[in-house]
Protein backbone atom coordinates (compact mmCIF):
# COMPACT_ATOMS: atom_id res chain seq x y z
CA UNK A 1 0.00 0.00 0.00
CA UNK A 2 1.36 3.44 -0.89
CA UNK A 3 2.06 5.98 1.84
CA UNK A 4 -0.74 8.22 0.55
CA UNK A 5 -3.29 5.37 0.53
CA UNK A 6 -2.25 4.35 4.05
CA UNK A 7 -2.65 7.96 5.15
CA UNK A 8 -6.15 8.25 3.71
CA UNK A 9 -7.15 4.91 5.25
CA UNK A 10 -5.92 5.94 8.70
CA UNK A 11 -7.65 9.28 8.42
CA UNK A 12 -10.96 7.77 7.21
CA UNK A 13 -11.03 5.19 9.99
CA UNK A 14 -10.18 7.85 12.54
CA UNK A 15 -13.04 10.12 11.47
CA UNK A 16 -15.44 7.15 11.49
CA UNK A 17 -14.35 6.03 14.97
CA UNK A 18 -14.65 9.55 16.39
CA UNK A 19 -18.08 9.97 14.80
CA UNK A 20 -19.28 6.70 16.35
CA UNK A 21 -18.12 7.80 19.82
CA UNK A 22 -19.48 11.36 19.66
CA UNK A 23 -23.03 10.79 20.91
CA UNK A 24 -22.58 7.96 23.46
CA UNK A 25 -19.39 9.33 25.00
CA UNK A 26 -20.71 12.91 25.05
CA UNK A 27 -23.95 11.76 26.69
CA UNK A 28 -21.96 9.76 29.22
CA UNK A 29 -19.78 12.77 30.11
CA UNK A 30 -22.91 14.90 30.57
CA UNK A 31 -24.44 12.18 32.77
CA UNK A 32 -21.33 11.98 34.96
CA UNK A 33 -21.55 15.66 35.86
CA UNK A 34 -25.31 16.00 36.19
CA UNK A 35 -26.34 12.91 38.16
CA UNK A 36 -26.85 13.19 41.92
CA UNK A 37 -25.89 9.59 42.58
CA UNK A 38 -22.41 8.91 43.95
CA UNK A 39 -20.58 5.66 43.54
CA UNK A 40 -19.58 3.84 46.71
CA UNK A 41 -15.86 4.40 46.04
CA UNK A 42 -16.53 8.10 45.57
CA UNK A 43 -18.31 8.29 48.93
CA UNK A 44 -15.28 6.64 50.53
CA UNK A 45 -12.98 9.19 48.91
CA UNK A 46 -15.14 12.12 50.08
CA UNK A 47 -15.17 10.69 53.60
CA UNK A 48 -11.42 10.09 53.60
CA UNK A 49 -10.65 13.58 52.27
CA UNK A 50 -13.26 15.34 54.42
CA UNK A 51 -15.15 16.64 51.41
CA UNK A 52 -18.67 17.98 51.85
CA UNK A 53 -20.00 16.73 48.52
CA UNK A 54 -23.21 18.72 48.79
CA UNK A 55 -21.44 22.09 49.06
CA UNK A 56 -21.74 24.13 45.88
CA UNK A 57 -18.82 26.48 45.35
CA UNK A 58 -18.67 30.06 44.14
CA UNK A 59 -16.32 30.49 41.15
CA UNK A 60 -13.55 31.95 43.30
CA UNK A 61 -13.76 29.06 45.79
CA UNK A 62 -13.77 26.59 42.89
CA UNK A 63 -10.62 28.13 41.42
CA UNK A 64 -8.93 28.39 44.81
CA UNK A 65 -9.54 24.66 45.32
CA UNK A 66 -7.76 24.05 42.00
CA UNK A 67 -4.84 26.31 42.95
CA UNK A 68 -4.42 24.74 46.39
CA UNK A 69 -4.57 21.21 45.00
CA UNK A 70 -2.10 22.05 42.23
CA UNK A 71 0.38 23.81 44.53
CA UNK A 72 0.49 20.77 46.81
CA UNK A 73 0.84 18.52 43.73
CA UNK A 74 3.83 20.51 42.42
CA UNK A 75 5.60 20.33 45.78
CA UNK A 76 4.85 16.61 46.20
CA UNK A 77 6.06 15.72 42.71
CA UNK A 78 9.16 17.84 43.15
CA UNK A 79 9.99 16.11 46.43
CA UNK A 80 9.35 12.64 45.00
CA UNK A 81 11.87 13.21 42.21
CA UNK A 82 14.42 14.67 44.60
CA UNK A 83 14.39 11.55 46.82
CA UNK A 84 14.26 9.11 43.93
CA UNK A 85 17.60 7.53 44.82
CA UNK A 86 16.05 6.32 48.10
CA UNK A 87 12.98 4.76 46.47
CA UNK A 88 12.40 1.15 45.47
CA UNK A 89 12.43 0.26 41.78
CA UNK A 90 14.47 3.34 40.98
CA UNK A 91 16.74 1.34 38.65
CA UNK A 92 19.77 2.79 40.48
CA UNK A 93 18.97 6.25 39.18
CA UNK A 94 20.15 9.22 41.18
CA UNK A 95 17.92 12.00 42.45
CA UNK A 96 16.59 14.20 39.66
CA UNK A 97 18.50 17.54 39.60
CA UNK A 98 16.53 20.41 41.21
CA UNK A 99 15.90 22.47 38.07
CA UNK A 100 14.76 19.43 36.06
CA UNK A 101 12.63 18.19 38.97
CA UNK A 102 10.87 21.55 39.30
CA UNK A 103 10.31 21.96 35.57
CA UNK A 104 8.93 18.40 35.42
CA UNK A 105 6.68 18.93 38.46
CA UNK A 106 5.23 22.13 36.96
CA UNK A 107 4.95 20.39 33.61
CA UNK A 108 2.97 17.34 34.75
CA UNK A 109 0.71 19.23 37.16
CA UNK A 110 -0.26 21.67 34.40
CA UNK A 111 -1.06 18.88 31.92
CA UNK A 112 1.84 20.11 29.76
CA UNK A 113 4.26 17.21 30.02
CA UNK A 114 7.14 19.17 28.57
CA UNK A 115 10.09 16.85 29.23
CA UNK A 116 13.61 18.18 29.71
CA UNK A 117 14.84 14.67 30.47
CA UNK A 118 15.01 11.24 28.90
CA UNK A 119 12.55 9.08 30.85
CA UNK A 120 14.49 5.84 30.55
CA UNK A 121 17.71 7.34 31.94
CA UNK A 122 16.31 9.82 34.48
CA UNK A 123 13.12 8.50 36.09
CA UNK A 124 12.78 5.26 38.06
CA UNK A 125 9.64 3.14 37.95
CA UNK A 126 8.13 4.48 41.18
CA UNK A 127 8.43 8.11 40.08
CA UNK A 128 7.00 7.25 36.66
CA UNK A 129 4.05 5.38 38.21
CA UNK A 130 3.18 7.21 41.40
CA UNK A 131 4.33 10.66 40.35
CA UNK A 132 4.09 11.27 36.64
CA UNK A 133 1.29 8.86 35.67
CA UNK A 134 -0.87 9.88 38.64
CA UNK A 135 -0.53 13.53 37.63
CA UNK A 136 -1.51 12.62 34.09
CA UNK A 137 -4.88 11.48 35.49
CA UNK A 138 -5.30 14.33 37.95
CA UNK A 139 -4.31 17.22 35.68
CA UNK A 140 -6.67 15.95 32.98
CA UNK A 141 -9.47 15.71 35.55
CA UNK A 142 -8.79 19.31 36.61
CA UNK A 143 -9.08 20.53 32.99
CA UNK A 144 -12.37 18.71 32.46
CA UNK A 145 -13.73 20.02 35.76
CA UNK A 146 -13.07 23.63 34.69
CA UNK A 147 -14.92 23.01 31.40
CA UNK A 148 -17.90 21.55 33.26
CA UNK A 149 -17.97 24.52 35.65
CA UNK A 150 -17.87 26.83 32.62
CA UNK A 151 -20.83 25.00 31.05
CA UNK A 152 -22.74 25.37 34.34
CA UNK A 153 -22.27 29.11 33.94
CA UNK A 154 -24.59 28.85 30.92
CA UNK A 155 -26.93 26.31 32.53
CA UNK A 156 -27.57 28.17 35.75
CA UNK A 157 -29.12 31.53 36.49
CA UNK A 158 -29.28 33.94 39.42
CA UNK A 159 -26.67 32.02 41.39
CA UNK A 160 -22.98 32.44 41.99
CA UNK A 161 -22.40 28.71 42.45
CA UNK A 162 -20.67 26.57 39.81
CA UNK A 163 -20.59 23.14 41.45
CA UNK A 164 -18.08 21.39 43.67
CA UNK A 165 -14.54 21.05 42.29
CA UNK A 166 -13.71 18.02 44.44
CA UNK A 167 -16.78 16.12 43.28
CA UNK A 168 -16.25 17.00 39.59
CA UNK A 169 -12.59 16.13 39.83
CA UNK A 170 -13.23 12.77 41.55
CA UNK A 171 -15.93 11.79 39.09
CA UNK A 172 -13.80 12.74 36.06
CA UNK A 173 -10.98 10.55 37.36
CA UNK A 174 -12.98 7.55 38.56
CA UNK A 175 -15.80 7.32 36.05
CA UNK A 176 -14.23 8.54 32.83
CA UNK A 177 -10.43 8.49 32.71
CA UNK A 178 -9.63 5.40 34.74
CA UNK A 179 -11.94 2.91 32.95
CA UNK A 180 -10.92 4.03 29.45
CA UNK A 181 -7.24 4.04 30.41
CA UNK A 182 -7.48 0.47 31.77
CA UNK A 183 -9.11 -0.76 28.56
CA UNK A 184 -6.53 1.18 26.51
CA UNK A 185 -3.67 -0.39 28.46
CA UNK A 186 -5.01 -3.90 27.85
CA UNK A 187 -5.29 -3.16 24.12
CA UNK A 188 -1.73 -1.83 24.01
CA UNK A 189 -0.31 -4.79 25.95
CA UNK A 190 -2.12 -7.14 23.57
CA UNK A 191 -0.40 -5.39 20.70
CA UNK A 192 3.11 -5.53 22.12
CA UNK A 193 3.56 -2.53 24.44
CA UNK A 194 5.57 -3.59 27.49
CA UNK A 195 4.34 -3.67 31.10
CA UNK A 196 6.88 -5.03 33.56
CA UNK A 197 9.29 -4.19 36.36
CA UNK A 198 12.30 -5.81 34.74
CA UNK A 199 15.70 -4.32 35.36
CA UNK A 200 17.40 -2.85 32.34
CA UNK A 201 19.32 -5.56 30.46
CA UNK A 202 22.49 -5.01 28.44
CA UNK A 203 23.13 -7.25 25.43
CA UNK A 204 26.00 -7.61 22.98
CA UNK A 205 24.91 -6.98 19.43
CA UNK A 206 26.04 -8.98 16.35
CA UNK A 207 28.51 -6.23 15.54
CA UNK A 208 30.04 -6.48 19.00
CA UNK A 209 28.50 -3.31 20.40
CA UNK A 210 26.44 -3.10 23.58
CA UNK A 211 22.79 -2.20 23.77
CA UNK A 212 20.70 -1.58 26.87
CA UNK A 213 17.08 -2.72 26.68
CA UNK A 214 14.90 -0.86 29.17
CA UNK A 215 11.79 -2.26 30.83
CA UNK A 216 9.05 -0.58 32.78
CA UNK A 217 5.31 -0.16 33.38
CA UNK A 218 4.88 1.50 30.00
CA UNK A 219 1.48 0.29 28.78
CA UNK A 220 -0.28 1.55 31.92
CA UNK A 221 1.10 5.06 31.37
CA UNK A 222 0.53 5.18 27.63
CA UNK A 223 -3.30 5.44 27.41
CA UNK A 224 -3.63 8.28 29.93
CA UNK A 225 -0.72 10.03 28.24
CA UNK A 226 -2.92 10.33 25.16
CA UNK A 227 -6.43 10.18 26.62
CA UNK A 228 -5.69 12.96 29.11
CA UNK A 229 -3.92 15.05 26.44
CA UNK A 230 -0.81 14.89 28.56
CA UNK A 231 1.84 13.70 26.13
CA UNK A 232 4.68 12.84 28.49
CA UNK A 233 6.14 9.55 27.33
CA UNK A 234 7.87 6.86 29.34
CA UNK A 235 10.77 7.03 26.88
CA UNK A 236 12.60 9.96 25.39
CA UNK A 237 11.38 9.24 21.86
CA UNK A 238 7.79 9.10 23.10
CA UNK A 239 5.35 7.36 20.75
CA UNK A 240 8.11 6.71 18.20
CA UNK A 241 9.52 4.12 20.65
CA UNK A 242 8.40 0.56 19.78
CA UNK A 243 7.76 -0.28 23.45
CA UNK A 244 5.25 2.61 23.67
CA UNK A 245 3.69 2.21 20.25
CA UNK A 246 4.67 -1.10 18.66
CA UNK A 247 3.02 -0.81 15.25
CA UNK A 248 0.97 1.47 12.93
CA UNK A 249 -2.30 0.21 14.47
CA UNK A 250 -1.23 1.27 17.98
CA UNK A 251 -0.10 4.61 16.53
CA UNK A 252 -3.59 5.06 15.07
CA UNK A 253 -5.14 3.97 18.38
CA UNK A 254 -3.09 6.57 20.26
CA UNK A 255 -4.26 9.32 17.89
CA UNK A 256 -7.83 8.14 18.49
CA UNK A 257 -7.32 8.27 22.27
CA UNK A 258 -5.98 11.81 22.24
CA UNK A 259 -8.92 13.07 20.17
CA UNK A 260 -11.87 11.10 21.50
CA UNK A 261 -12.76 13.02 24.70
CA UNK A 262 -12.13 16.56 23.34
CA UNK A 263 -14.27 15.80 20.27
CA UNK A 264 -17.07 14.31 22.43
CA UNK A 265 -17.14 17.22 24.89
CA UNK A 266 -19.29 19.49 22.64
CA UNK A 267 -21.96 16.79 22.82
CA UNK A 268 -21.79 16.91 26.60
CA UNK A 269 -22.10 20.69 26.35
CA UNK A 270 -25.15 20.43 24.05
CA UNK A 271 -26.73 17.87 26.34
CA UNK A 272 -26.12 19.94 29.48
CA UNK A 273 -27.51 23.18 27.98
CA UNK A 274 -30.40 21.13 26.51
CA UNK A 275 -29.68 22.10 22.90
CA UNK A 276 -27.66 19.50 21.00
CA UNK A 277 -27.40 21.75 17.94
CA UNK A 278 -25.19 24.11 19.96
CA UNK A 279 -22.88 21.17 20.49
CA UNK A 280 -22.85 20.36 16.78
CA UNK A 281 -21.92 23.98 15.97
CA UNK A 282 -18.88 23.88 18.27
CA UNK A 283 -17.99 20.42 16.97
CA UNK A 284 -18.02 21.86 13.43
CA UNK A 285 -15.58 24.64 14.46
CA UNK A 286 -13.26 22.05 15.99
CA UNK A 287 -13.50 19.76 12.98
CA UNK A 288 -12.81 22.52 10.43
CA UNK A 289 -9.64 23.67 12.20
CA UNK A 290 -8.44 20.10 12.82
CA UNK A 291 -9.01 19.23 9.14
CA UNK A 292 -7.09 22.32 8.03
CA UNK A 293 -4.20 21.35 10.34
CA UNK A 294 -4.12 17.71 9.20
CA UNK A 295 -4.43 18.69 5.54
CA UNK A 296 -1.81 21.42 5.79
CA UNK A 297 0.89 19.39 7.54
CA UNK A 298 0.20 16.31 5.38
CA UNK A 299 0.48 18.41 2.22
CA UNK A 300 3.80 20.02 3.13
CA UNK A 301 5.33 16.78 4.41
CA UNK A 302 4.27 14.90 1.26
CA UNK A 303 5.20 17.72 -1.16
CA UNK A 304 8.68 18.23 0.19
CA UNK A 305 9.81 20.69 -2.51
CA UNK A 306 7.39 23.35 -1.29
CA UNK A 307 8.75 23.05 2.23
CA UNK A 308 12.34 23.36 1.09
CA UNK A 309 13.64 20.28 2.90
CA UNK A 310 16.49 18.94 0.76
CA UNK A 311 16.90 15.51 2.39
CA UNK A 312 13.34 14.76 1.44
CA UNK A 313 14.24 14.55 -2.24
CA UNK A 314 16.08 11.30 -1.56
CA UNK A 315 13.32 9.74 0.50
CA UNK A 316 10.23 10.64 -1.59
CA UNK A 317 8.76 12.69 1.23
CA UNK A 318 10.02 14.67 4.20
CA UNK A 319 11.21 11.45 5.83
CA UNK A 320 14.11 12.80 7.88
CA UNK A 321 13.20 12.41 11.55
CA UNK A 322 10.17 10.30 10.65
CA UNK A 323 9.66 6.87 12.22
CA UNK A 324 9.71 4.53 9.20
CA UNK A 325 7.02 2.25 10.72
CA UNK A 326 4.52 5.11 10.49
CA UNK A 327 5.73 7.05 7.44
CA UNK A 328 5.18 10.72 6.68
CA UNK A 329 1.38 10.35 6.58
CA UNK A 330 1.30 8.74 10.04
CA UNK A 331 3.65 11.44 11.30
CA UNK A 332 1.56 14.25 9.80
CA UNK A 333 -1.72 12.95 11.26
CA UNK A 334 -0.12 12.53 14.67
CA UNK A 335 1.68 15.91 14.57
CA UNK A 336 -1.49 17.79 13.63
CA UNK A 337 -3.63 15.97 16.19
CA UNK A 338 -1.15 16.34 19.03
CA UNK A 339 -0.73 20.09 18.48
CA UNK A 340 -4.41 20.98 18.07
CA UNK A 341 -5.04 19.18 21.33
CA UNK A 342 -2.80 19.97 24.27
CA UNK A 343 -1.22 16.53 24.10
CA UNK A 344 2.31 17.04 22.88
CA UNK A 345 3.07 13.34 22.41
CA UNK A 346 5.08 12.80 19.23
CA UNK A 347 5.70 9.86 16.90
CA UNK A 348 8.23 11.75 14.77
CA UNK A 349 10.80 14.50 15.26
CA UNK A 350 8.99 17.86 14.94
CA UNK A 351 12.27 19.70 14.35
CA UNK A 352 12.48 17.73 11.11
CA UNK A 353 9.07 18.81 9.85
CA UNK A 354 9.30 20.99 6.76
CA UNK A 355 9.36 24.72 7.63
CA UNK A 356 5.70 25.21 6.69
CA UNK A 357 4.68 21.90 8.28
CA UNK A 358 6.41 22.91 11.50
CA UNK A 359 4.91 26.39 11.16
CA UNK A 360 1.42 24.90 11.09
CA UNK A 361 2.19 22.81 14.19
CA UNK A 362 3.33 26.01 15.91
CA UNK A 363 0.25 27.88 14.68
CA UNK A 364 -1.97 25.03 15.98
CA UNK A 365 -0.66 25.54 19.49
CA UNK A 366 -0.89 29.32 19.20
CA UNK A 367 -4.61 28.88 18.44
CA UNK A 368 -4.91 28.16 22.14
CA UNK A 369 -5.64 24.53 21.33
CA UNK A 370 -9.36 24.77 20.90
CA UNK A 371 -9.77 22.43 17.94
CA UNK A 372 -10.61 20.14 19.64
CA UNK A 373 -8.16 21.27 22.30
CA UNK A 374 -6.97 19.67 25.48
CA UNK A 375 -9.33 17.72 27.69
CA UNK A 376 -11.68 20.39 29.06
CA UNK A 377 -9.28 23.20 28.12
CA UNK A 378 -10.38 23.02 24.48
CA UNK A 379 -14.01 23.32 25.48
CA UNK A 380 -13.72 26.34 27.76
CA UNK A 381 -11.34 28.03 25.30
CA UNK A 382 -13.78 27.55 22.46
CA UNK A 383 -16.73 28.75 24.55
CA UNK A 384 -14.88 31.99 25.26
CA UNK A 385 -14.09 32.35 21.56
CA UNK A 386 -17.77 31.82 20.78
CA UNK A 387 -18.58 34.64 23.22
CA UNK A 388 -16.06 36.92 21.47
CA UNK A 389 -17.58 36.01 18.11
CA UNK A 390 -21.08 36.81 19.32
CA UNK A 391 -19.84 40.16 20.56
CA UNK A 392 -17.96 40.98 17.33
CA UNK A 393 -20.90 39.85 15.20
CA UNK A 394 -23.22 41.94 17.33
CA UNK A 395 -21.08 45.01 16.68
CA UNK A 396 -20.92 44.29 12.94
CA UNK A 397 -24.60 43.72 12.19
CA UNK A 398 -26.30 45.42 15.08
CA UNK A 399 -27.53 42.21 16.73
CA UNK A 400 -27.88 41.90 20.49
CA UNK A 401 -24.81 40.10 21.82
CA UNK A 402 -26.30 37.07 23.55
CA UNK A 403 -25.11 33.49 23.80
CA UNK A 404 -27.44 30.77 25.04
CA UNK A 405 -29.71 33.34 26.59
CA UNK A 406 -26.93 35.11 28.47
CA UNK A 407 -26.10 38.71 27.60
CA UNK A 408 -22.50 39.41 26.65
CA UNK A 409 -21.87 42.64 28.52
CA UNK A 410 -18.66 44.63 28.98
CA UNK A 411 -17.83 42.65 32.11
CA UNK A 412 -17.90 39.35 30.21
CA UNK A 413 -15.78 40.84 27.44
CA UNK A 414 -13.20 42.00 29.97
CA UNK A 415 -12.88 38.43 31.24
CA UNK A 416 -12.57 37.16 27.67
CA UNK A 417 -9.94 39.79 26.80
CA UNK A 418 -7.90 38.92 29.90
CA UNK A 419 -8.19 35.23 29.03
CA UNK A 420 -6.76 35.81 25.56
CA UNK A 421 -4.06 38.27 26.62
CA UNK A 422 -2.44 36.02 29.22
CA UNK A 423 -0.89 33.55 26.79
CA UNK A 424 0.62 35.97 24.25
CA UNK A 425 2.05 38.05 27.11
CA UNK A 426 3.61 34.95 28.71
CA UNK A 427 4.92 33.50 25.43
CA UNK A 428 6.25 36.66 23.81
CA UNK A 429 7.79 37.98 27.04
CA UNK A 430 9.56 34.69 27.75
CA UNK A 431 10.73 34.33 24.13
CA UNK A 432 11.89 37.97 24.05
CA UNK A 433 13.82 37.55 27.31
CA UNK A 434 15.45 34.37 26.00
CA UNK A 435 16.51 35.95 22.73
CA UNK A 436 17.70 39.12 24.41
CA UNK A 437 19.80 37.63 27.22
CA UNK A 438 23.03 35.61 27.26
CA UNK A 439 21.40 32.91 29.40
CA UNK A 440 18.76 32.35 26.74
CA UNK A 441 21.05 32.80 23.73
CA UNK A 442 23.61 30.28 25.00
CA UNK A 443 21.14 27.43 24.57
CA UNK A 444 20.05 28.37 21.02
CA UNK A 445 22.14 26.08 18.84
CA UNK A 446 20.59 26.83 15.43
CA UNK A 447 21.18 30.31 14.04
CA UNK A 448 18.69 32.51 12.17
CA UNK A 449 14.97 31.90 11.69
CA UNK A 450 15.13 28.24 12.72
CA UNK A 451 16.60 29.19 16.09
CA UNK A 452 13.83 31.75 16.60
CA UNK A 453 11.23 29.14 15.65
CA UNK A 454 12.69 26.76 18.23
CA UNK A 455 12.45 29.34 21.02
CA UNK A 456 8.93 30.38 19.98
CA UNK A 457 7.84 26.75 19.70
CA UNK A 458 9.22 25.95 23.16
CA UNK A 459 7.38 28.73 24.97
CA UNK A 460 4.22 28.38 22.88
CA UNK A 461 4.19 24.68 23.69
CA UNK A 462 4.79 25.28 27.40
CA UNK A 463 2.36 28.18 27.85
CA UNK A 464 -0.41 26.36 26.01
CA UNK A 465 0.32 23.24 28.06
CA UNK A 466 1.03 21.23 24.93
CA UNK A 467 4.43 19.81 25.76
CA UNK A 468 5.58 18.75 22.31
CA UNK A 469 9.18 19.74 21.69
CA UNK A 470 10.59 21.08 18.45
CA UNK A 471 13.97 19.99 19.85
CA UNK A 472 17.24 21.54 18.76
CA UNK A 473 17.01 23.99 21.67
CA UNK A 474 19.09 23.45 24.80
CA UNK A 475 16.02 23.61 26.98
CA UNK A 476 17.74 21.64 29.76
CA UNK A 477 19.68 24.82 30.61
CA UNK A 478 18.66 26.24 33.99
CA UNK A 479 17.26 29.37 32.30
CA UNK A 480 14.74 27.43 30.22
CA UNK A 481 13.93 24.99 33.05
CA UNK A 482 13.03 27.77 35.49
CA UNK A 483 11.43 30.26 33.11
CA UNK A 484 9.61 27.39 31.39
CA UNK A 485 8.17 26.19 34.72
CA UNK A 486 6.85 29.66 35.50
CA UNK A 487 5.37 30.00 31.99
CA UNK A 488 3.62 26.62 32.31
CA UNK A 489 2.05 27.48 35.67
CA UNK A 490 0.90 30.92 34.52
CA UNK A 491 -0.24 29.57 31.13
CA UNK A 492 -2.40 26.92 32.77
CA UNK A 493 -3.94 28.60 35.78
CA UNK A 494 -4.29 32.30 34.87
CA UNK A 495 -6.63 31.53 31.91
CA UNK A 496 -8.59 29.14 34.15
CA UNK A 497 -9.09 31.96 36.68
CA UNK A 498 -10.55 34.23 33.99
CA UNK A 499 -12.62 31.42 32.46
CA UNK A 500 -14.19 30.60 35.82
CA UNK A 501 -14.67 34.28 36.60
CA UNK A 502 -16.54 34.59 33.33
CA UNK A 503 -18.60 31.50 34.16
CA UNK A 504 -19.49 33.01 37.54
CA UNK A 505 -20.59 36.22 35.86
CA UNK A 506 -22.79 34.30 33.40
CA UNK A 507 -24.32 32.16 36.17
CA UNK A 508 -25.44 35.28 38.05
CA UNK A 509 -27.46 36.52 35.07
CA UNK A 510 -31.15 36.05 34.50
CA UNK A 511 -31.50 34.41 31.04
CA UNK A 512 -33.18 36.46 28.35
CA UNK A 513 -35.49 34.81 25.80
CA UNK A 514 -34.29 34.78 22.18
CA UNK A 515 -35.77 37.56 20.06
CA UNK A 516 -35.70 38.61 16.42
CA UNK A 517 -32.50 40.48 17.21
CA UNK A 518 -30.68 37.43 18.57
CA UNK A 519 -27.90 35.99 16.43
CA UNK A 520 -28.39 32.25 15.91
CA UNK A 521 -25.36 30.38 17.20
CA UNK A 522 -26.11 27.04 15.59
CA UNK A 523 -25.85 27.93 11.92
CA UNK A 524 -23.00 27.35 9.41
CA UNK A 525 -22.63 31.15 9.29
CA UNK A 526 -21.80 31.26 13.00
CA UNK A 527 -19.39 28.33 12.63
CA UNK A 528 -17.58 30.22 9.85
CA UNK A 529 -17.47 33.37 11.95
CA UNK A 530 -15.93 31.57 14.93
CA UNK A 531 -13.28 30.00 12.67
CA UNK A 532 -12.52 33.43 11.19
CA UNK A 533 -12.29 35.07 14.63
CA UNK A 534 -9.91 32.31 15.79
CA UNK A 535 -7.63 32.71 12.78
CA UNK A 536 -7.64 36.53 12.85
CA UNK A 537 -7.10 36.73 16.60
CA UNK A 538 -4.14 34.35 16.53
CA UNK A 539 -2.83 35.63 13.22
CA UNK A 540 -2.65 39.22 14.46
CA UNK A 541 -1.08 38.22 17.76
CA UNK A 542 1.66 35.95 16.50
CA UNK A 543 2.18 37.09 12.90
CA UNK A 544 5.47 38.99 13.49
CA UNK A 545 7.05 36.03 15.27
CA UNK A 546 5.74 33.56 12.70
CA UNK A 547 6.98 35.78 9.85
CA UNK A 548 10.49 36.00 11.29
CA UNK A 549 10.63 32.27 12.11
CA UNK A 550 9.01 29.55 9.98
CA UNK A 551 7.81 31.81 7.14
CA UNK A 552 11.27 33.39 6.68
CA UNK A 553 12.89 29.95 6.73
CA UNK A 554 10.34 28.40 4.39
CA UNK A 555 10.52 31.20 1.83
CA UNK A 556 14.33 31.43 1.92
Amino acid sequence: MSSAAAGWLQFGLLVAALAVCYVPLGNFIAHIFTTDKDWKIERWIYKLMGINRGADQKWSVYVRSILAFSAVSVLFLYGLQRVQDHLLLSEHMSAVPPDTAWNTAASFVTNTNWQNYAGESTMGYVVQMTGLTVQQFLSAAVGLSVAIAMIRGFMRSRTDKLGNFWVDFTRASIRLLLPIAVIGAIILVANGAIENFHSYATYTTLSGGHQTIPGGPVASMEPIKDLGNNGGGFFNTNSAHPFESPNPWTSWFEIFLLLVIPFATPRAFGKMVKDNKQGYALLAVMAVIWLLAVGGISFFEAHYGLGGATAAHLAHGAAEGTETRFGTSGCSLFAASTTVTSTGAVNCFHDSLTPFGGGIALFDMALGEIAPGGIGAGMYGLLILAIVTVFVAGLMVGRTPEYLGKKIRPVEMKYAALYFLVLPVAILTAAGLSIGTHQGQNAIFNPGPHGLTEVMYAFTSMANNNGSAFAGLGSAAMWYQTLGGIVMLIGRFAPEIFALGLAGSLARQQPVPASAGTLSTKTPLFVGMVVAVVLVLVGLTYFPALALGPFAEGLH
Binding site: D99, A105, I486, G501
Partner: protein, 32 residues
Protein backbone atom coordinates in the same frame (compact mmCIF):
# COMPACT_ATOMS: atom_id res chain seq x y z
CA UNK B 1 24.24 23.54 47.13
CA UNK B 2 21.30 21.33 46.26
CA UNK B 3 19.66 21.94 49.63
CA UNK B 4 19.67 25.68 48.93
CA UNK B 5 18.45 25.10 45.39
CA UNK B 6 15.61 22.96 46.75
CA UNK B 7 14.50 25.81 48.97
CA UNK B 8 14.76 28.19 46.02
CA UNK B 9 12.34 26.11 43.97
CA UNK B 10 9.98 25.57 46.92
CA UNK B 11 9.86 29.32 47.48
CA UNK B 12 9.43 29.92 43.73
CA UNK B 13 6.44 27.53 43.70
CA UNK B 14 4.87 29.38 46.61
CA UNK B 15 5.50 32.76 44.96
CA UNK B 16 3.94 31.72 41.63
CA UNK B 17 0.83 30.32 43.32
CA UNK B 18 0.64 33.37 45.59
CA UNK B 19 0.59 35.56 42.48
CA UNK B 20 -2.22 33.45 41.02
CA UNK B 21 -4.06 33.66 44.36
CA UNK B 22 -3.70 37.45 44.25
CA UNK B 23 -5.10 37.52 40.71
CA UNK B 24 -8.21 35.74 42.04
CA UNK B 25 -8.48 38.30 44.84
CA UNK B 26 -7.99 41.12 42.34
CA UNK B 27 -10.73 39.79 40.08
CA UNK B 28 -13.08 39.44 43.07
CA UNK B 29 -12.34 43.03 44.01
CA UNK B 30 -12.97 44.11 40.40
CA UNK B 31 -16.31 42.26 40.47
CA UNK B 32 -17.52 44.24 43.47
Amino acid sequence: MNFNTDWLYIVLTIVVFAVLWLIVKGVEHFER
